[in-house]
Amino acid sequence: MEPRVAVGDYNRSTGDSTLYTTSQNPHVIRLLMGAFVLGIPEHKLRVVAPDVGGGFGSKIFHYAEEALCTFAAKALNRPVKWTCSRSEAFISDAHGRDHVTKIDLALDADNNFTAVRTETYANMGAYLSTFAPSVPTWLHGTLMAGNYKTPLVYVNVKAVFTNTVPVDAYRGAGRPEATYQLERVIDKAAIELGVDPIALRRQNFITEFPYATPVAVEYDTGDYVATMDKLEEMADLSGFEARLAESQAKGKLRGLGVNCYIEACGIAPSNLVGQLGARAGLYESATVRVNATGGLVVMTGSHSHGQGHETSFAQVVADMIGIDENMVEIVHGDTANTPMGMGTYGSRSLAVGGSAMVRATEKIIAKARKIAAHLMEAAEADIELKDGQFSVAGTDKSVAWGDVTLAAYVPHNYPLEEIEPGLEETAFYDPANFTYPSGAYACEVEVDPDTGKVTIERFSAADDFGNIVNPMIVSGQVHGGLAQGIGQALLEGCGYDENGQLLTGSFMDYAMPRASDVPFYSVDHSCQTPCTHNPLGVKGCGEAGAIGSPPSVVNAVVDALRRGGHDVTHVDMPLSPSRVWSAMQG
């Protein structure tokens, strides 16, 4: 909800420029703006973005105002500030998700999926924004196998320029679009074939991993049967008929929509994206600095704009050493005191940023063990670390974390001929693959047949995020993603008239979901197939809710209309009351 802001500042005596900005990735902005726009070397340019009020992708990109403020501050030798009003945001923040797609699904006589063909026109807007061309191509096309063992997948994407505001990544970035098309056409197939939409999906699930899809990516692990089983239990599907009767007694239509999703996130392996045409590496970084008295500062290239990294990252490090979380401070968002990192988006912070932090902490622990071994005159191989104590296996000799850290900075009893003083390590982590969260969602809606208004009555989400570090934060991410997906399905959309005038220029016309538009959600992440290729075994959870939910809602509304006797097989989003009502008129 925080609109964009940029403050440029210039220090004439040092020649240093500073940009304060609402960015999800300050280092990226420093590199792009410094190297390609203003010609400022990185060591003379600092970008600070510590406490940003939400981003969801729209704050990844380098926006012109950032460069203008930085330039103007130097030209005028005084700070220059620009604050975006919400109306200005509607005409300048990158839009998302503008695809027109035709998708075909082929099945054999036994209802096995044999092929998927999809052709998409993807709007780029009037100018190419930072990641724009990658979103409908690599982040969308590579997900068209979905959770299914369809052997043939054809994807053709044409990116087009129009007169709209530039379009770029937004929560899910390509994967909501892919999931939506696939899960909608599967539901359409179920209707045409007269088969149960859940059975049709189950029959076609990938069940053996790793699975090399026909569209370039290889899923490392997953269990789509488990999440569907969990969903069926959570969503009380057997109680639907009774709830249907209750709705009907009130004169309302009721529908049930079920779907799966899989997504590729934890972006990304640098050499893979390089081969695909990306001009960026997508590693992450962490410097772990241990202080003499035992506290740690983790300087991460990840960025927190609501994800609670200060909590979850501290948890990970504290758990590795066995000390209290309050001894770990997480620093992010300032290029002056964090190593070069690519920032937070693409559900990558724990999977990639967390892994960098783990690797750096492993180096710290390895060195600390050497120090402990020296202090206790034992062999390094016999040193065990548990609950913040180093002990010698098979003895009662131990030394506390704080003693080891002090020794590192007061190296009097210390193996100086083998290791340097100090206890600070950096790691850069480049992931070996994307990660592949997946799940199954169910949505029940009521439709008022006289007005077309849809209400969400129930929403259940069974997700597999691999290992979970902080369950409350994970649930919160899913809640927020579900609300955005429900918003996309029922309320949201940027409208332009035939003259290119933006019609949805404020919240008066762009419908945002309010608390009364959504119920309490039922979310579960107990199905866990750990990621096989990062040290935490985590898959990332930030975007899943927004990826899996739009088809749930639309499937449910179509189901409601059909049960109400209307021969409708599809309605385009947003399913505003007027659109639903029009669809019912035939």
Partner: protein, 161 residues
Amino acid sequence: MPQVNMTVNGKAATGTVEGRTLLVDFLRETLGMTGTHVGCDTSQCGACVVHVNGKAVKSCTMFAAEAEGAEVATVEGMAAADGTLSTIQQAFQDHHGLQCGFCTPGMVMSAAALLRDNPKPSEAEVRDYLEGNICRCTGYHNIVKAIMAASGQDVSSIAAE
């Protein structure tokens, strides 16, 4: 340029303002109290909610001059002098009712007004009351839960983790 005088969180506050100075801008820029936020320009998002003479008001849709002589309460006044969080704030923390935190001051101030008028609101009443408070991060689940918990109601049956 006219002077304006009001009480903010129990302390006298005074400043020179223009006619067009909004109450939110007086709080943020003149008094330096940046807890109250601006998230839109159509008076819808609620990030700017404060209390004026005991009533929830959108401070972006009121001029500072209109608050002359008024008692204004902002989020900065919710915690105790020693920093102990108010019941509502503590509930938001306990139940993860905030993520980026931008809408939170408005949510907390709206919740305070609600619970003053309706000490044990139902889920539907809470959701209705938040019609003028938009959040993009939480999906509202934990906000509603936090407010009901702050009212002393049992929220253990509301799906959490």
